[in-house]
């Protein structure tokens, strides 16, 4: 087996060397990234690409990174992942939930390649998963919103009804209600991760219905721009979007994959890599908050306090008692939501308008 894979590696290296006429003889490790969107989306994929650049910067000549962008979930992804694996990439990051099964399939065929799949729940010997506890950031955003809002109504521009998004909505409202029990959330689904026009329109509709805080779980800065234009407040998504809304952005929940990518790539190079399932948050720095702006000092202090409390584990956003929309208690007082409930969250907490598809 070992000889066979060794031969395959030799063959792969040989092929590349002949094809590209560039020697790969030095010990540089090839690292591959598969992106679901274009790196120019200024959202999800953009941040992963920033992480890739961090790897290049930190490890310099030790690595050579490759990426394939706009790979559609579905038939294309398996080919791309396999193509990366068969061309000598030693670590491959697949950065969208829909790449989960293709990643596992390819991983079976390439036992010596390490795979890292973002946001999934299936692991294997050479497939690790990683995800970020964005809900921690959303809880802080909720706390700020609860203090800043005058109409007690939050407008939430959402993409698709998946657990990640539902979790974000719930965490936001729990945060808001922790300081102001009158808060409610209206959700508008745009059925797209990425349609600036529609995201903006959804924000306008929500503001017209009385929301004075806009939060979004879609990729473009359009909702925040609308908030700026209409004189309400909002939160950035994925990146610090203060440039798009200097007067409106209260903060932003920043996806920060840099450290993780550097750390895991290093582990793969020095041989200490092991498959794992991590869900990092503020503590590990995978979720970061952009500077707290456009709010009174006391709110800023409260936001920082909340952030610290979450970071050192004193506060869990999903601490009981939590009621769902029907008023049923789903998390008892004194307990926190378990991992299964968090991962597969499929209910709204009390105070969210509308209902989820069953």
């Amino acid at each position: 087996m070992r000889i066979k894979s060794f031969l395959r590696e030799i063959l792969a290296v040989f092929t590349i060397a002949t094809i590209s006429c560039v020697g790969v003889a030095n010990a540089e490790t090839k690292v591959g990234f598969v992106y679901v969107g274009p790196i120019g989306d200024h959202g999800w994929t953009y941040r992963h690409n920033v992480g890739r650049l961090a790897v290049e910067k930190a490890l310099g000549t030790q690595v050579k990174t490759t990426f394939v962008e706009s790979v559609k979930e579905g038939p294309d992804s398996e080919r791309v992942i396999r193509q990366l694996a068969s061309t000598g990439h030693k670590v491959i990051y697949t950065t969208s939930f829909g790449f989960m099964n293709p990643t596992l399939k390819v991983a079976k065929k390439f036992p010596n390649v390490r795979f890292e799949h973002a946001t999934g729940y299936k692991q294997s010997k050479n497939v690790g998963t990683y995800s970020a506890r964005f809900y921690e950031g959303r809880y802080i955003a909720g706390v700020i919103a609860g203090k800043v809002s005058k109409t007690n109504k939050i407008g939430y521009v959402a993409s698709f009804p998946i657990p990640e998004v539902v979790r974000g909505i719930n965490a936001f409202l729990l945060g808001a209600r922790s300081v102001n029990p009158e808060m409610t959330i209206s959700v508008v689904w745009v059925n797209s991760w990425y349609d600036p026009g529609k995201e903006g329109d959804a924000a306008k509709a929500l503001i017209d219905q009385g929301a004075d805080i806009i939060s979004q779980h879609t990729d473009s800065p359009a909702p925040l721009q609308v908030a700026e234009n209409r004189g309400v407040k909002g939160f950035g998504q994925a990146s610090d979007m203060i440039k798009f809304a200097p007067k409106a952005q209260l903060s932003a929940i920043v996806n920060n994959w840099d450290n993780y990518y550097v750390e895991r790539t290093k582990a793969a190079i020095d041989g200490s890599w092991k498959s794992q399932d991590v869900w990092y948050g503020l503590k590990e720095g995978m979720v970061k908050m952009a500077p707290y702006t456009n709010m009174p000092d006391d709110v800023q202090a409260l936001a920082k306090k909340t952030e610290d409390a979450i970071r050192n584990g004193e506060l869990h956003p999903f601490s009981g008692p939590i009621k769902d929309q029907t008023g049923k208690i789903v998390v008892e007082a004194g307990k926190v939501a378990d991992a299964g409930m968090l991962l597969g969250m499929n209910f709204y907490v009390e105070g969210v308008q509308g209902s989820l598809p069953k």
Binding site: C21, Y121, G344
Partner: protein
């Protein structure tokens, strides 16, 4: 103002009396030379080694067995849909909504597979395929019905229904058809082996779906050249009035075109789902239904031409991915390059049916 273009068509094209055999071969060669030439320019401008870039784009994907099987896998849906569309386009029936019919094929067939998840029978696969095909057929029947009954333009209705189909799939996968063990993530269960198309070559994704595509090309070829229906379709396309005098019923041909193209798109959809993906996802097509329109025309609406066009198109996609991996060419460049390739192919295609002659467009006088 009509003088503006006087200098422009100094050479004009005029139709050949018959398709030129010589140019059938020559025109794609010229197109490819022109594409390579412009490729050299573009890649050099971007600071890449142009010859290496072209090699990774067009040759390298074909140097491995895996690459070849993937080419066939990628071309299969394009050819299946493209053949169906070509038949309709010949008859001037504009089905722009193959994307929706493809999706509905996946929905109906995939839904059947999920229903039969626990049935261990070799009948599951045929059932899945038939229902998938029927799904596409059904979705294609709606614009046909609206056209024949209400005279509603099929370009608009078929396009709009595509959006509806994609949203239907999205709803099902985000809601009722979620994998119960999948933490509410938007994916169906993975189909049982009984619902999967058999793999033809081990360690690849090449499956029986590709055989369907080849079979469909052959059948369509015979249909178009050897049968009365094929003759009618062609006549209607070329001379609708004459066809009417000859007593061909236009509405019948509209139905026929939509059912064939819808059914084939549906088959392509289910073949993709039960052949390569193995489960239902929120989106199962990277735009095959639209790309197949180009494939149909690139193949000159001829089944065999569609086969070649499908392969070329598939190569340009796979080559694009390859170029990203091997030389870090951004996806934007591969799209740009693909567009240019198509421009040249389409422009040179003209030489097959037309020839140059010297004369002035404005006066119509020959200057030879």
């Amino acid at each position: 103002m009509s003088q503006i273009f006087q200098f422009f068509p100094k050479f004009v094209l005029e139709p050949r009396l018959e398709v030129s055999g010589k140019w059938v071969i020559l025109s794609p060669i010229i197109a490819i030379i022109l594409t390579l030439f412009s490729g050299v320019i573009i890649f050099s401008l971007l600071g890449k080694d142009p010859f290496l870039a072209l090699y990774t784009f067009f040759v390298q994907p074909l140097t491995t067995m895996f690459g070849i099987t993937e080419l066939l896998v990628k071309a299969t849906p394009l050819v299946l849909i493209g053949v169906g569309l070509a038949i309709g386009f010949k008859a001037n029936v504009w089905n722009i909504g193959a994307e929706g019919q493809f999706t509905m094929g996946a929905v109906f067939g995939g839904g059947t597979a999920l229903l039969c998840q626990h049935m261990e029978s070799i009948l599951v696969l045929p059932l899945v395929l038939v229902l998938g095909t029927l799904g596409g057929l059904f979705w294609g029947a709606i614009p046909a019905f609206l056209k024949t009954r209400f005279n509603a333009n099929e370009i608009l209705t078929s396009l709009m229904l595509s959006y509806v189909a994609v949203l239907c799939l999205s709803y099902l996968v985000h809601g009722p058809w979620r994998d119960p063990a999948g933490f509410n993530f938007p994916e169906s269960q993975i189909f049982s082996d009984y619902a999967m198309l058999p793999i033809l070559i081990e360690n690849s994704r090449l499956n029986l779906g590709t055989m369907f595509a080849i079979l469909v090309v052959l059948v369509a070829w015979i249909l178009m050249t050897r049968t009365i229906i094929g003759f009618q379709l062609r006549v209607v396309g070329l001379a609708p009035t004459a066809a009417q005098y000859a007593g061909f019923k236009q509405s019948g041909l509209i139905w026929l075109s939509f059912l064939i193209s819808g059914g084939l798109a549906g088959l392509a959809g289910i073949a993709e789902v039960s052949g390569t993906i193995g489960q239902l996802l929120p989106s199962v097509s990277p735009g095959y239904g639209f790309t197949a329109i180009i494939v149909a025309f690139l193949g000159r609406l001829h089944p065999v031409g569609v086969l070649f066009a499908g392969l070329i198109m598939a190569l340009s996609y796979i080559g694009g991915e390859n170029a990203q991996i091997e030389i870090g060419l951004p996806a934007a460049v591969t799209g740009l390059f693909q567009g240019i390739l198509l421009f040249f192919l389409l422009a040179c295609d003209v030489l097959v049916r037309y020839r140059f002659s010297h004369r002035s467009v404005l006066t119509g006088e020959r200057c030879e």
